[in-house]
């Protein structure tokens, strides 16, 4: 009896400890984000106040109005263009990276071919190279090709950044699907192509959605390479646009925070929309077990 009570108490202590640790970690991760969101809704003066003011005293949408040029004082930052650039670049590169990732992942999961292991390892090693290390060579090559400061230039960079990752993730999901399902579909009258679209694709959908979200977020949030490769309103993305708020002597923190919120929202919405698919496990049950 006393033993049971003791273990009960130690369990509770352990749980309390874990909760405290989780809380601490969440604070470290969330407070900067929270600060950004709060700061988007207050004037610059309040942001710089000492001691810090946590809860905005007079919440305001002025920062957003300013960015979109709706207020009295105009800020010459073309947020609309940046937003569209970001959207076009992230969407296009995601779609292409997913298409290549699906084809590649399927091939790695289902086919035997020469050099399969080395090619896969090569892809993973490529992922290990920090993108910024490649920025100078990419800059030189892109400028020779005449695609510096274009959307297509950035799309190509993001596709190559994302493809190893999408292949790796989608390969894992296809591997989980028993080969016999595709074989059964082929015996049932499907071509290999039909078997893929009607059986294997729906079952790997959650994995493909996850790969898509990750690829989109990578492209959407990427700053370092974009800041090197884009210059003008026609190709700059939102994260690069944040730099527009810094002048030689001043930084418009409030505007920057408002813009950061604008960057975060689509990413949040996307993650929310596909979260159902992010929960894997659809494959189980069709085979024994």
């Amino acid at each position: 009896m006393s033993l049971a009570v003791e273990s009960q108490t130690s369990k509770q202590l352990k749980r309390a400890g874990l909760t405290a640790l989780t809380f601490l970690l969440m604070v470290v991760m969330c407070v900067p984000g929270l600060w950004v969101v709060l700061s988007a809704f207050r004037p610059n003066g309040e942001i710089l106040a000492k001691p810090p003011i946590w809860i905005p005293e007079a919440p305001t949408f002025d920062n957003f109005r300013k960015i979109f040029g709706l207020g009295t004082d105009q800020v010459a930052i073309p947020v609309g263009s940046y937003f569209m650039n970001s959207l076009i670049i992230a969407m296009t590169s995601t779609v292409i990276a997913l298409a290549i990732g699906m084809a590649g992942g399927y091939a790695f999961a289902r086919y035997r071919f020469r050099g399969k292991g080395s090619i896969f390892l090569g892809l993973m090693l490529f992922r290990a190279v920090p993108g910024i290390a490649l920025s100078l060579p990419v800059f030189i090559i892109w400028s020779k090709l005449g695609i510096i400061d274009t959307k297509i230039g950035l799309i190509i960079v993001y596709v190559s950044l994302n493809v190893p990752f999408t292949i790796w993730l989608i390969d894992g999901f296809f591997r989980q699907i028993p080969l016999s399902l595709s074989e059964a579909a082929q015996v049932d009258g499907c071509t290999r192509w039909q078997a893929f679209w009607k059986i294997e694709f729906p079952l790997a959908r959650s994995g493909i959605a996850a790969a898509g979200v990750f690829a989109f977020l990578t492209s959407w949030n990427e700053f370092a390479l974009a800041s090197q490769l884009t210059r003008s309103t026609s190709s700059k993305t939102l994260p690069v646009g944040l730099l527009d708020f810094t002048a030689q002597f001043t930084i418009d923190w409030a505007g920057m925070c408002a813009m950061a919120v604008i960057i975060i929202i689509p990413a949040l919405i996307l993650t929310f929309l596909v979260q159902k698919h992010l929960i894997a496990g659809l494959t189980f049950g069709g085979v024994k077990g």
Partner: protein
């Protein structure tokens, strides 16, 4: 008409050959079971008939068509997989109707034929469930339903019962047999379980190391095994094999015990020939407790080492010529280890194999 012909069919993976040129003819509506230990090439052979493996050499015909280069969908076959391979994202109705939908059947027709197949297999109350919500036996039935609903010319079964527990396996075995009687179709069935092979097959094909060891009815394979491999693989418990030498019309075993050569094998038993004497446990029994007391026989006194009572019969482990020998005692009688009994061997059902080749002497 859907007879299947395999003509010198070979399967190679790179340089390694796994099926070495097998010949087999399967008649229309025949139930043929490919049986053998794992790695004998039986599943590979089935998959070559299905079109799921490329054929490295030889010819496969279904009906009068050479199907070597046809994809599975053009062979008019259906297949039940070992892991059932039900589509997890579809319910039972959709699983059953999938093949018909792909074939472009009308929704009315699909639903009619799905209902028919479901009725045959007792799946009607389960039609709206997903595979995850079914038990092993139910999944097995759905897999069979998916196979019959398309009314193919050939059914292929790849170890369909090996994931079920013993009791369910017995039930499903009977259902498969009933199904074949209802839906007359050519069936090729792969298993490593000789009981399944014996009970289901019109003809058994015993395979070993990518070759066919024997083709015949279950009773032929049981009563007239061509090799020691078939003799030990078919029948449970396996046949006892005792090495010996022919001397003066008898087999002299290692310890000097002599067992007379049955008359029908005498022409092949020349003196000095090294042989293996094969005798099934059912044919060695304590005197008065055997299947038959007639016919030629030989009696030996043996000591019981272990007895396994099975109710109406007991399996007795004993030792003859320094080798463990299984015997059967029919009738309810308790036997104790150490007990000495006189056993009678029914020699009309004994077998002699060449010691070197393992071939039955009657094939000389």
């Amino acid at each position: 008409m859907a007879e299947i012909t395999l003509d010198k069919v070979v399967k190679k993976y790179g340089a390694a050959s796994v099926v070495h040129g097998i010949d087999l003819e399967i008649a229309h509506e025949e139930f043929v079971v490919l049986v053998g230990p794992s790695g004998c090439g039986k599943s590979t052979t089935l998959r070559m008939i299905a079109g799921l493996e490329d054929i490295s050499g030889g010819i496969v015909r279904i009906g009068d068509r050479v199907v070597n280069d046809l994809p599975p969908r053009k062979r008019n076959i259906s297949m039940v997989f070992q892991n059932y391979a039900l589509y997890p994202h579809m319910n039972v109705r959709e699983n059953l109707g999938f093949g018909l939908k792909i074939a472009g059947e009308s929704p009315d027709n699909i639903s009619k034929r799905v209902d028919e197949a479901a009725a045959v297999l007792g799946l009607t109350p389960l039609l709206d469930r997903t595979p995850a919500e079914l038990s092993g036996g139910q999944r097995q039935r759905v897999a069979m339903g998916r196979a019959i609903v398309r009314r193919p010319e050939v059914f292929l079964f790849d170890e369909p019962l090996s994931n079920l527990d013993a009791k369910l396996r017995g039930q499903m075995r009977a259902e498969i047999k009933k199904l074949h009687q209802k839906v007359r179709t050519t069936v090729v069935y792969v298993t490593h379980d000789q009981v399944e092979a014996m009970t289901l097959a019109d003809r058994i094909v015993v395979m070993r190391d990518g070759r066919i060891e024997q083709v015949g009815t279950p009773m032929e394979a049981f009563n007239h095994p061509r090799t020691t491999f078939v003799a030990t693989f078919i029948g449970s418990p396996p046949m006892n094999l005792l090495p010996g030498v022919i001397a003066g019309g008898a087999v002299r075993l290692a310890d000097g015990t002599t067992v007379p050569v049955p008359d029908r094998l005498k022409p092949h038993a020349r003196d000095g020939r090294k042989v293996t004497l094969g005798i099934r446990p059912d044919d060695i029994s304590p005197v008065g407790h055997g299947l038959s007391q007639d016919g030629p026989g030989a009696e030996v006194d043996l000591t019981v080492e272990l007895a396994e009572p099975l109710g109406m019969e007991s399996l007795i482990y004993t030792r003859l010529a320094g080798q463990e020998v299984l015997a059967k005692l029919y009738g309810p009688r308790i036997v104790q280890p150490g007990e000495q009994l006189t056993f009678r061997m029914a020699l009309d059902r004994a077998h002699l194999f060449d010691a070197e080749t393992g071939q039955s002497l009657r094939l000389d």
